[in-house]
Symmetry: C2
Amino acid sequence: MATIEDIGLSAAINILTAAIFLLAFAFLRLQPINDRVYFPKWYLKGARQSPGHGGASVRKFVNLDMRSYLKFLSWMPAALKMPEDELISHAGLDSAVYLRIYLTGLKIFVPITILAFLVLVPVNWTNETLDGLKVEHSGIDKLSISNIPYGSKRFTAHLIMAYVFTCWTCYVLLREYEIVATMRLRFLASEKRRPDQFTVLVRNIPPDPDESIGELAEHFFLVNHPDHYLTQQVVYNANKLAKLVKEKKKVQNWLDYYQLKYERNTSKRPTVKTGFLGCFGSKEDAVEHYTSEIERIEMEEAEERERIMKDPKLVVPAAFVSFRSRWGAAVCAQTQQTSNPTVWLTEWAPEPRDVYWDNLSIPIVHLTVRRLIIAVAFFFLNFFYIIPITFVQSLANLEGIEKAVPFLKPVIEMPTIKSFIQGFLPGIALKIFLILLPSILMFMSKVEGLTSVSSLERRSASKFYIFIFFNVFLTSIIAGSALEQLQSYLHQSANEIPRTIGVAIPMKATFFITYVMVDGWAGVAGEILRLKPLVIFHLKNFFLVKTEKDREEAMDPGSIGFDSNEPQIQLYFLLGLVYAVVTPFLLPFILIFFVLAYVVYRHQIINVYNQEYESAAAFWPSVHGRIITALIVSQFLFLGLLSTKGAGQSTPVLLVLPVVTFYFHKYCKNRFEPAFVEYPLQEAMRKDTLERAREPGFDLKTYLADAYIHPVFKCDDDDEKFSMGAEREAEQVLVATKRQSRRNTPVPSRHNGSEVPSLPEIVNDQRL
Amino acid sequence: MATIEDIGLSAAINILTAAIFLLAFAFLRLQPINDRVYFPKWYLKGARQSPGHGGASVRKFVNLDMRSYLKFLSWMPAALKMPEDELISHAGLDSAVYLRIYLTGLKIFVPITILAFLVLVPVNWTNETLDGLKVEHSGIDKLSISNIPYGSKRFTAHLIMAYVFTCWTCYVLLREYEIVATMRLRFLASEKRRPDQFTVLVRNIPPDPDESIGELAEHFFLVNHPDHYLTQQVVYNANKLAKLVKEKKKVQNWLDYYQLKYERNTSKRPTVKTGFLGCFGSKEDAVEHYTSEIERIEMEEAEERERIMKDPKLVVPAAFVSFRSRWGAAVCAQTQQTSNPTVWLTEWAPEPRDVYWDNLSIPIVHLTVRRLIIAVAFFFLNFFYIIPITFVQSLANLEGIEKAVPFLKPVIEMPTIKSFIQGFLPGIALKIFLILLPSILMFMSKVEGLTSVSSLERRSASKFYIFIFFNVFLTSIIAGSALEQLQSYLHQSANEIPRTIGVAIPMKATFFITYVMVDGWAGVAGEILRLKPLVIFHLKNFFLVKTEKDREEAMDPGSIGFDSNEPQIQLYFLLGLVYAVVTPFLLPFILIFFVLAYVVYRHQIINVYNQEYESAAAFWPSVHGRIITALIVSQFLFLGLLSTKGAGQSTPVLLVLPVVTFYFHKYCKNRFEPAFVEYPLQEAMRKDTLERAREPGFDLKTYLADAYIHPVFKCDDDDEKFSMGAEREAEQVLVATKRQSRRNTPVPSRHNGSEVPSLPEIVNDQRL
């Protein structure tokens, strides 16, 4: 049992770590040389450009303005200044709503914390149970429910609070769902013309011996949607081509590297070995070698392009079908086309940049099998992942290595290396697994056959949440691997499970407090430092960058990473709700996490992240659902805990809570979820009518002609980002921006999101 | 443990009972006086009429043709003769598909029985376990899995059989789902024009201060479906009017009764007491009294009619909106109309006669609350119903009655009456509850707010199945009330539950064999006798019938009663699947049930039942789902049983089965269920095009004008049945019928469905 002093020490260490991260960030971000690491979003928006070639050369790399260092925390208020509407138009609705998750956390937990400290802490504190027991205990335990004697009447207070907290959480969730749904509808309504508004993704087009997929689709929709059908675009299986394009890019990088090397040292032409890994084979002139490589790949690419256009086998039985009006598309997306529900499946087309092209060709019959396989695989991953890791760990000892690679023996036997390996190896297998986990889960989701990147991320997030729930939350509480838990769940009665877990909860409060500080506080502070992108950018900048465009590509703005970040926030909701009644002392730590994370992520979203797609907050239903799950879990665990504390007669009273919460969830689902799934006809009709009145002669067909072609077919790489960015950009030309122009001057822009050396007047960079 | 002799005796008794029922039926149905009880369907179809007034008067009541008695079982082949297509056009798709449930049972269990007897019975029989144990055992136990020694290798046979049976069941289910889906689609495609094809039920129309509901709906759909909207019909809250109409009918019955009484005995005018229950108050002339009553009600009725038309508050915020084409209606029914998903809810309109009018006005927000309440209520009904019944039973003893009504004491104390009450009372409370159960469940479903009779029946059937599963199946196996079970489930581990139940299964085989014979064999034979309708018809016929139309109304053809009958069939599926591997000896009994029930219900559907609605087999997904449930339950119970027999290592092998079965169910759901829920656009378009070509000038608006008015507004009662019957009737005029005309002649019609005195050439009776 950690005492309050232990916690204090741990807090001090973690606060110090977080502070160091924040200070390092405050220093690094002021250096112009890091500008593209800490403000890539503005470069992508065209609001900043690289420091020009004029001016003092040192100032290009280092910030010498001492005054700016004094205000090293000024980014925080700056991050909070941008109003939500501007944030939405700046970074998209997804990002803005993602931030609302943290806000929701604050809205739920601030009143709960206050109430818990006003009511529960005094109720708990004024008992003598733990003192009487003469067991070792800390001040924290005196504040927790453990200090209430067996069968005390005081549990009524906790019972009432459980009701109050549930009601409050549900109320906040209801309000937030309402707000987010409204935001989404307003966002969709205010959107300019976009290809996906008119387009439906049709999958599983049945093969026809007489007609090509394209003709078939055209005829089918001409017959069944005669007044609305406009055009269609077949999907090509361009996986091989995409591979070639990727390879070309890699070779191009090497070419750039050697050209730069030669430029810097013209005395010696760089050479390269052509064999395996560049270590064997004959030496050749590097520049020439890579130039010829590129030529070869370009030829192959051209061939493949031709082949795709000619070979009907490379046409996937799917098509993007566009309609004359949004109404027509909305109708087609929401209805069943034929009596056989496995063919001619229609759904809303994702944004062009959101399409996950590889999965478009999977037939529906395979989907069930794939889901079954992945469900089983995920079950084993979740409960049995510990087995292979233990196995690898048992292999990865000194004897094992010495046996496998005997010639390394003398090196390994050196004392320092030996101790390093012994201390480091066992943990590394687990660490590597945990780092790889989001990618593994994403791979699993891809196998399941979803067709858009956004839905893939949502699916991965669900899996990750389940993994965290069993392997972090429950494992920490009852101290056994998920596999051992599984066994005990199977051998325990339904009554017993919440009791076993519930009883252990108060004892683990200090552990989770430490966890919140390490993972939450320091983790979030680490996020803002962006150590990995910082290093990679400077490496690339040094070795590869020749032109301004290369530099642009060397930037790695990243994105929110919904699939791995959101489940981690959910863990804090879970902890907060579980401990709210049991050990309220944990709540302030979670509050600090939410505040810090909110500020940091707001800053990152404004200045760094470049969201790859816009799903218009389609993830909110799952966020809502997971908070509800956490709430129900907390209710059951509290029920289990109370039944071991001699307050078993409260069980029926407490059982009402999960039932009501569940039906509250069902109500919310009915009430709001359709707004996140369907596109109402009224809205579609309204937009259609408005647009027809405004631009009667608009040539929609041309507009949609190339909207949904595989990215590799776009000659200019920059075209990839055309869809929404272009729209929004065009908007910005019309609307006067509030952003100020300046460079290396301390005058702050009004809502620049961060007070930094900023750059000339916003330019309508058509590359975006 | 019952021996084979015991079972044989029981079988003999039950076969005798069933035979007596069948003989009684064979005799009774030949009497012309019972013709309207045993062949009402033909009267409703207009293919028969009451025996004319000419001819020998005795022959009007009693069949004197001895030859017809000799062939007393001839109805059986007759019932099987009618081909399925004709059955569908005769009794509707619902009835035809309902019969397929029995067929499915046969298809599943005939091969399973054969296989089980070929493989499992020898494997079980050739062991000495039970002989060795020297415990009392019967021949049946020697045939069952109990005879296999602990940990024997022979369990492999059962394991393989479990796989084979699962595969076979799934294969049959898949095939049947496919067939039924095809039947449904063909049925829908072949249907003539029907109002519900063009109509959508719109609920939760938001109130508007400036416009009436009707105007509002018209404007909304004119704007949002401009090319397709045709007309709309508001729904009136006519519950009070419906009550008046009902009352009038009752009074009319009494009037008829007294008029008839007076006619038969003109010497004395019948009198009636006007007070409570007709026992108190002043005497009045009965005929006059009831005539004036009818006048009073008619006036009230007229007033109420006027009030409904005038008072806007009596307009329910729902409307039946009709479209120009099936395509337009299909689109509207499947799409979301506005951004607020709780208003302007659209769904397919049920058939006019299928509409459950009382529920049309429930707002969506209430639905969640209502469902919650009903879910809780059903939970308590399911697990705690035994408590009030025990309470009533404890009250309903002699002392209780004597206390409550002391003046009855001398009567009760009489020995015969005393013993009768003592023997009879305790059971009666339970019996009454079980008789009332389907009505209670139907009431619950009504509270849930479903809007069509067919969906109400489906919902009640689900509830009834759950009730049977816990209160018949599990209660019989582990011999404890559902409440005691609930407690043990909560206190047992997930592992333990299938084990406890599984272990008890082989021991209960003889009980279930008896159950199948009593409930299944004798019950089905009782069904064909129609004792209750027989008695009621003759009572009505004697006391009330004046005209031919009255006689028509006195007929009670009844209907299949999906809500109470289907769950009972499902119990046999459950028993069959559970015992297939454990005690194959049970299977032949279930086979006999399926055969008998198939023949009897086919006869009843052809000759008796008059289905009140046509849902085009919309119930099949739930039938399929429940068989899958039974399959999964059987797999878990077998798993539990094996784990207690020393074959625990087979658990992982067996665990594969429920997982695969579950995903098989998911696959079927994806593959076929949409065909039962949605109306594909292609079909709609095809029918529209066809019809436009055939009848270019058809006045759809007039056709639809009165389709969806509350039945009480229809002046002529017979109009109620107009929709589909009329359509089908019209069809029959075009298609030459195969039915032969004859009366009281032994020449059999080709597919008359029953070899009985039949009636003149089919008449296109426009009342149908």
